[in-house]
Amino acid sequence: MSAHIPPSFYKYRASIVFALAGILIALAPLPSPITTPTERHFRVEARSFEYNPAVLRANPGDRVTIELIPMDVVHGIYIDGYNLEFHADPGQTGELTFIANRPGIYRFRCSVTCGALHPFMIGKLQVGPNSLLWRGAGLATLAALAGAWRLRR
């Protein structure tokens, strides 16, 4: 059996191991934590040009209600990826309820022109764990290990 393996295999053995580990880190399905969907209620104060809180966290399947309270002018929320939009006037709290059925990280942006820095009025909706970050960190560590391995040789 070993006779059929070309000698170059042994030469590139470490590289192949690192490559396989990289593919594993990048693509392996994570054991998703089993969570029972719950109600999540966020009270978001909108002010030129920020949301408070600006990061909303939910688990996939949660029923999310966003209450939007504009503090100065008309503000709105447009959630990328979910394709949802609503806006509210000061004094008239706006509300949006949806099922967070798409895991991932989505930006939400102000949907009503609210002043000069309106394009920079953004927030983040995080549905489920931030696997992209952990996979990225894993790949970076692997790359560092591979570099160290190469230097030692």
Binding site: D72, V73, V74, G91, Q92, T113
Partner: protein, 330 residues
């Protein structure tokens, strides 16, 4: 040869005729026949408000508005008219055509909260016509009664628990005719009405709070669900930003009416927070006519805008009716 002369004549005619036609056309502006076109820019009150803000028009002359915003979302509406409000968005032109049937002074105003100075965004359209300007002989009730709007009006009597019209109705005591007359109720504060009702024979077996329930019932009878719905709509659109959605005077804009903000905006006047409609001492001492006066005139040292030229009489009373829901359970 003849054809060449004709061609020369044509060229000369064109060169002379075209500028002449343009000059003649300027003598007859399109506005004179088909109304005027008004290019109007909306800016936040701090940076200029409406441009132009003073307009003149003839009766039944169509005004073609081309509205656009230079900064944020604004709205455009004309006070005391059924004409629906339109949104004025930056980077877009909203077109609207309006003609006035009666001569007079019309106030147009911004309908979307566009900043702390939102309510300052107002302008005037003066409409003239053959018929003389109709003077509204009828003065608002507060002016007829000569009520001093700025005087403090603490209630002499206040209930222990929140009065409820339903509890009042369940007492099964019919309200006498006097308390069914809106004219009577509009002139008296709930506290005054309570003290009059307390002395009546039909309330002899009742506790003080039960008499308050009867007052709430009388107040409920003087309004209608349609008026309350209209009042609520006007309240959320125009008042809730300062007075709060719950009427407690803690709206999102209340923080911007700080002494410092007032000092920079105006001269160093006394600063007062927006009125708290859930305070029984203040509210139950006010008559509906007094509240009507406050809405119409504004002021009160809190930067409250005047709504006289914007709300119709029906709208003002609906708003007053709605304010009592912060005191009474209907």
């Amino acid at each position: 040869m003849n054809a060449e002369r004709l061609a020369r004549l044509f060229v000369v005619g064109l060169l002379l005729g075209l500028p002449l036609a343009i000059l003649i056309a300027r003598w007859f502006p399109p506005g004179s026949a088909a109304g005027q076109t008004i290019e109007m820019h909306a800016r936040m009150a701090e940076s200029g408000g409406w441009t132009p803000s003073d307009l003149t028009a003839e009766v039944r002359e169509p005004l073609h508005f081309r509205l656009t915003s230079d900064d944020v979302v604004h709205g455009f509406a004309i006070g005391q008219s059924d004409w629906p409000a339109v949104d004025v968005n930056p980077g877009e032109v909203t077109e609207a055509t309006i003609a006035f049937e009666k001569p007079g002074k019309y106030v147009f105003y911004c309908t979307r909260w566009c900043g702390p100075g939102h309510w300052r965004m107002r302008g005037v359209i003066e409409v003239s016509g053959e018929t003389a300007v109709e003077q509204d002989a009828e003065q608002p009730l507060y002016a007829v009664l000569g009520i001093d709007i700025d005087a403090p009006h603490p209630a002499a009597f206040t209930p222990i628990q929140r009065p409820s019209a339903r509890r009042g109705a369940s007492l099964g005591i019919p309200i006498t005719k006097m308390y069914q007359d809106p004219e009577y109720l509009h002139r008296r504060s709930p506290a005054e009405t309570w003290s009059v009702m307390r002395a009546e024979t039909f309330t002899q077996g009742l506790s003080d709070d039960q008499v308050w329930d009867m007052v709430a019932l009388a107040w409920q009878n003087s309004t209608s669900p349609a008026a309350l719905a209209l009042g609520q709509q006007l309240y959320t659109q125009n008042c809730a930003a300062c007075h709060g959605e719950a009427g407690s005077g803690e709206g999102v804009m209340a923080a911007s009416i700080t002494p410092e903000a007032q000092l920079t905006a105006e001269s160093g006047h006394d600063h007062k927070p927006p009125a708290n409609f859930t305070d029984p001492k203040m509210m139950l001492g006010a008559s509906p006519a007094l509240l009507q006066g406050k809405i119409i005139r504004g002021g009160m040292g809190s930067g409250m805008p005047y709504w006289g030229p914007i709300f119709t009489e029906e709208q003002t009373w609906a708003l007053v009716d709605y304010l009592w829901t912060f005191q009474f359970d209907y």
